[in-house]
Symmetry: D4
Subunit: 166 residues, 8 copies
């Protein structure tokens, strides 16, 4: 059975950002679940969540959090599944706090960090991880790239103008 991707966020307020990840996973027909748990307010639930990942068929985690964003790192310490971290921008420090809290993991427990607010990229990274051992998914990813390329090409064609001037 195909392994799925578990999307977890530190607060339900991150849902509008993280639904972009869910949309990508649906587009690639990758099984997924969405959860909202707090590393600090519900450490026990996060532990249960992590312990049950395998049973629920989840092979990869996408974890999003803002501020002192510990959720991705905490989950990474509770599972050997790859954990993708999405820093969420909050007022004031522009997401730099979340970015550093997620990416600067100490030796031994990595978190695969993506762009601040990069829910879509997190999902595409999860798909790429699954595609390492799934040629069909790898083909879909190639197609996705082709579609992106065509979109850029069309936008460029529209914009593209012959040289003007003397």
């Amino acid at each position: 059975m195909k392994k799925g991707v578990s999307i977890i966020m530190g607060s339900k307020s991150d849902l509008p950002v993280m639904q972009k990840a869910e949309n990508i996973l649906k587009e690639f027909v990758v099984p997924c679940e969405i959860r909202a748990l707090s590393a600090h307010r519900t450490p026990d639930l996060v532990r249960e969540y992590a312990a049950g990942l395998g049973e629920r068929g989840m092979g990869i985690v996408i974890a999003a959090a803002g501020m002192a964003a510990h959720l991705p790192g905490v989950v990474a310490g509770l599972t050997t599944a790859p954990v993708i971290g999405v820093p969420i921008e909050s007022a004031g420090l522009g997401g730099l706090d979340a970015l550093l809290s997620i990416v600067q993991m100490p030796p031994g427990i990595p978190v695969a960090t993506v762009t601040v607010g990069g829910a879509k990229n997190a999902a595409l990274l999860a798909v790429a991880m699954l595609a390492v051992a799934d040629d069909q998914l790898a083909d879909k990813l190639e197609e996705y790239r082709t579609t992106m390329r065509t979109a850029v090409q069309n936008a460029d064609a529209e914009l593209c103008k012959p040289a003007k001037g003397a």
Copy 2:
């Protein structure tokens, strides 16, 4: 029985910094313990550690960590005892990563963050917390302030020079 202060650090390499905290606590005759556990490499041991704080007579935690410094926040989520966080400087980002990872805790679970590398201040803050309900300790803290003041005064007296010039 007087409550003690538990010093915990994310890596034994933080010991030279954190011994300044132990020294202060000894000076104030506050019971203390020193531990080195990793929020990511040993989440279960951290949980056990936090669960046993009360039993070991520890009423306050000083937690030090560098980089994506999650230890103070993780412990704060596992106990209602006040947690004091000490950001440890590491190469490159000058401790800004540890500072933001510790201080920017989301609503509900505070960490009392002190100066980057501020082990001594962490211990003095722990003493001040205990002194809220311990007048004898409060008096000692006053004395400590007086000693500091005298030291500054003496340094100033040595330096102090009459105005020169026209």
Copy 3:
């Protein structure tokens, strides 16, 4: 008699942020006072304020300020009561100025710094400090945690979806 928590802010414009602290203290039935004094414009009033803390029954200070936020550190130099600092975000530098001005205290005089804008966390930290020597308050803090946990759990349950896909 139970010790109270004094909330002081550098400018009355910080009141909307700091009332979250007052609300938490009321919820925990902790005596409190709210003051607005400036470390720079009214140094004498700040000194009087600090000198009278004990007499007014205040055992802990929550001090909020923005920009070159000196108020928490200045009060910390005038009392041995624990001082909790709340950096207030202002335009431009996103609160980084206030954060560094509050947290980077030199050895000897700590300030327990919380999240930028973290009035609620400041109050919860004050409650945790008082709870070190007050088991009843510690129990209330446990209940508060349970309530938070339940809120997260409910939000998660609402969101939680079975795995979709192939």
Copy 4:
């Protein structure tokens, strides 16, 4: 046949850092190659390199670079294999330039960014990605975690001291 991990760096001077990645991969008996190519000085060689990844049996890329660190992102645009980026610290800006140049990828082409200088974490992340579809490797990763945990536990036991004081 098992897929391997290709380690590529922007400059041979990054080799001392990146050999930590090779060591981890050897420890997990994961096939690997080490290359040094420049996104800017040798764009054609990088393209050839990326085009031949599959043929050389490489399923994952670890790309390290400093300063305006484009190599990880450029390779990510040339392959659908997951690309792990390692920001290399250089003088002055402490690696913040490399970190932002690697992690802030635009929508569509993710790079799985790890700690500044985090070669070891990059390799562990690559192993975790391969382990999604390789239970034997997943078991080895669990063992590795157990070894880390034991090491921490021993260090803690050595350090651990009974409470001192009154």
Copy 5:
């Protein structure tokens, strides 16, 4: 035949900013083209684009991009024509990510970086480069400076007030 300036941007959403560059080039009657290609999504098209610069009569490139802004550096690696980089501000990090990704090029492949959002300055810099070997263009640039000077002078004259007070 006079060489032209090619304006390329990483995303069509940068067009409103970059049209200021086109306007300046038109004002100086410098031939130009506008393109929108992505270093990551369309690496092959960027290569074709760069390979054809000479044939299309383009002697200088203005490349704009945001976030992990690789486009200017990637184009600089594909042509020996001078490349001017325009960092585009995006949410959160205020353009610091784009600035560092563009300016911090490693030895051998420079990018002439201008102000964050500085499309107008990029075009004026391109004109100045062309004017090194084109005295007529140099004269026009002098005139442009004179016009700017007059505008400032008029604004100052309007504002300028005689000293008031005692």
Copy 6:
């Protein structure tokens, strides 16, 4: 005759900010002038401006600029009168660019830098400089302080509440 204060800004768009400086100077009946000149677009006018300061009776300069804010430093190199620099916030980098461009002057030519956007403080600083040799102005400054103190005191009195709770 009393020396005046010359307010100069890099762009007329800084006028709304800088009028706060003019208001303070009027309040203290200090002669002043307002000018808008650009260090880069009108270097000759800036030189004339600086050369004529003494003749126009101006003893102190307040110079405001944003971005690569050279105006204060350039004027400081053209006069021995004290120059006060006001960093103006612009989009993206939050005024950090202007602050560093103004404050980090090399040895020999100081600029007295004030708060980002701190036009009012710049004027008060100019008044304080004049008051060093003008006892009447020093008295007015004392009165100004008293007024500020009273305003804070009144705001505090309004806010001030007796301790509530148990």
Copy 7:
């Protein structure tokens, strides 16, 4: 009688930096004093120090401090004499903490901030302030500028080389 300049530093360890200020003041034959007092450890001594400035003939203050550098701002709140702030670099954050703590003063109480570590510039600024009402000192400052100019000119003459090449 000529007014003097009081140099005060937060810690005696800042003396090697601040002696550059004393040297400049001696060179200009400006009366001066050197003091070392802490805003936090000796608030009362700082108040006494500020209250006695006039009596000691001091018309200007140069205050240096590192980390959460409150000393310049605190003194500025205790005197109407102009206060010049010198941010002292400390490990980790490179002096950014001290710079922001000194320069970002709230409206009403300015601090004239100079370069990080800029003791020499602080003294030259003090001289320039005194020179506003002291033509002889203004002349000396002009001479000092001439000497600097000559030194640069000589260094340039030594370096200056005729164009080489084709």
Copy 8:
């Protein structure tokens, strides 16, 4: 006659860094001069320097400076020749001050900014600018690229290892 490149630095202490620029220009047989003048200490000399660029056969300027690095921008305001700015790293702020002071030029007067400490890149950029109208120089630049490419290729060949492992 071929136009030359003028290298100017704010302080003779920048010479070791800037000689890398001279070396590149010699390698490409481009006429050059080296000067050391200060925007602040010798504004008149800088004006003379800029006014004489054309007469001395200099068509492009490379200007290096640290801290509040005004020299490149000041020269750019005094000539219409393209000005390339090299930020010089100084203690503490890691060159961020110089970078922002150089790159963030306001609309109208661009500076072509290169890497912090990027003297070599500055010279290569100057060569590329000259090569826009000099096909022979463009060919040399192509050769230089080929040499760089070969060096990388050789380094890679030495490093390159066949996949190891299972």
